[in-house]
Symmetry: C2
Subunit: 279 residues, 2 copies
């Protein structure tokens, strides 16, 4: 497995891939867990070569967010990739990845008004920009994203379509603990007690889905159920409980088109997100 530390390392590696061989790409911020490993496994199986990027992208963190605190266990990440049969890990320095005078940004307008976009201004612009630049460098045939960060996945899929990028976006199901808690690199911030309480997100989503499948088509009612169930877990703060269209990520009242039920909740200082796609 190659460790590529600079843009020029990556460019050279990519240029040496023979024509006709496919490249699968898994962009990450590191702190790899079983959710990432699922993406990596798919990327490896479905392509001749698999590249993982590990880069904590400063552009997608707000000024009060956890950029410096964000876990960076590079050695164990490297080992996980090696054992998973990854061909190359791209782990650039932020100082080289973005030049001092970086000024170019990409965004999917309107898709960040709700859900996480509402409380994290500029976040998805940072995500689009980093992923677009990574795509240009890696030139993958397929790219893998987890459905846990559903707004990110749907925004990036829209960006790929709108800009006619020559790659296939693969969205992979959320990996969960036995309890139902969605895996996240931020789960390490949780105390044992908080972790137990946080299972309420999965419980609430499951309850609302059951009602929907039973015929409930009123979005406000489902949101009420979600909120009530989350509140039984004594959350520090509910950031949002939303039901939005998959196509536009804007709130829907009736549930006639494909939609996402999504929640973001603080336990202590840790903000967790989870969602179900329906139908």
């Amino acid at each position: 497995m190659q460790i590529l530390r600079t843009l020029s390392d990556l460019r050279q590696w990519r240029a040496a891939v023979p024509a006709g061989r496919t490249v699968g790409f898994i962009p990450t911020m590191g702190a790899l867990h079983a959710g990432h490993m699922e993406l990596i496994e798919r990327g490896r199986k479905e392509n001749d070569l698999a590249v993982v990027s590990i880069f904590v992208n400063p552009l997608q963190f707000g000024p009060t967010e956890d950029f410096t605190l964000y876990p960076r266990p590079f050695e164990s990440d490297r080992e996980l990739c090696e054992r998973a049969g990854v061909d190359a890990v791209f782990a650039p320095e932020a100082g080289e990845f973005y030049a001092k005078d970086h000024a170019t940004y990409c965004e999917v307008e309107g898709f960040d008004r709700f859900l996480c976009g509402a409380s994290r201004p500029g976040h998805f612009r940072g995500v689009c920009t980093v992923v677009l630049k990574l795509f240009n460098l890696v030139q993958p045939h397929r790219a893998y994203f987890g459905k846990k960060d559903i707004q990110q996945a749907l925004i990036l899929r829209k960006m790929v379509t709108d800009l006619s990028l020559n790659l296939e976006m693969i969205l992979v199901d959320t990996v969960r603990e036995a309890s139902g808690l969605a895996l996240s690199s931020r789960n390490v911030y949780l105390s044992e007690g908080e972790k137990d309480r946080a299972v309420a997100l999965f419980r609430a989503l499951s309850k609302a889905r059951a009602l929907y499948l039973d015929g409930e088509k009123n979005a406000e009612k489902l949101k009420g159920i979600l909120k009530a169930e989350i509140e039984t877990s004594d959350p520090t703060r509910i950031d949002y409980v939303e039901i939005v269209s998959q196509a536009r990520l804007d709130p829907v009242l009736s549930l006639e088109e494909p939609f996402v039920m999504a929640v973001a909740v603080f336990y202590g200082k840790t903000r967790l997100i989870d969602n179900f796609l329906l139908p």
Copy 2:
């Protein structure tokens, strides 16, 4: 020469280019003149294959601008390309090029505050977005832009660098009539009298350059010279006379770094631009 009318035509054409052969790309809005032909000639000479796009991009026109009026002489453009040895012309319909729900935009922040950006809000965002999408479709090795639209050329070059696009940007000198008037698709709007008066742009730039080369390093003085010379031609309105850095496109006072002297002037209803890069 192939005429490609849909995104899928272009994708198929591009996929059939054998690995190892280079593609030169000349994006245009049609109404081709000798300036475009110079770009095409360079693209053809320096690459195995040359692709010209002809697309009047709605995203880069403001609501009061000449989008519907803009000349679209497709048959003569096609012939010019054919005679110049172009391999493929990509001429999509706006309705297919941008889906109805198109929402993705790219911009080079801060680079559109001055020059044409100041009076054409959103214009360069439209330019960046269309060119980025065209680059993704055509996947050229080299792309050719005229220095006449200098803000466009420098913004796009910055976008390519910032986003690590895998292509070389070639900026080609402005082609002029014997009088010095820079060629432009919009020159067809000019009456004979306006055309004569418009030569003042070239005369003013030449005069200011001569003074600079003689040792004048005060930007305000040069701007004064430019304005005074343009005013002798009885312009309908001077939109701007600016001296900006080549690196950031912001006004400079002293002329210690590479800079652009740029002017935009109305004669009748027609807005003309011209510039010199110095040193």
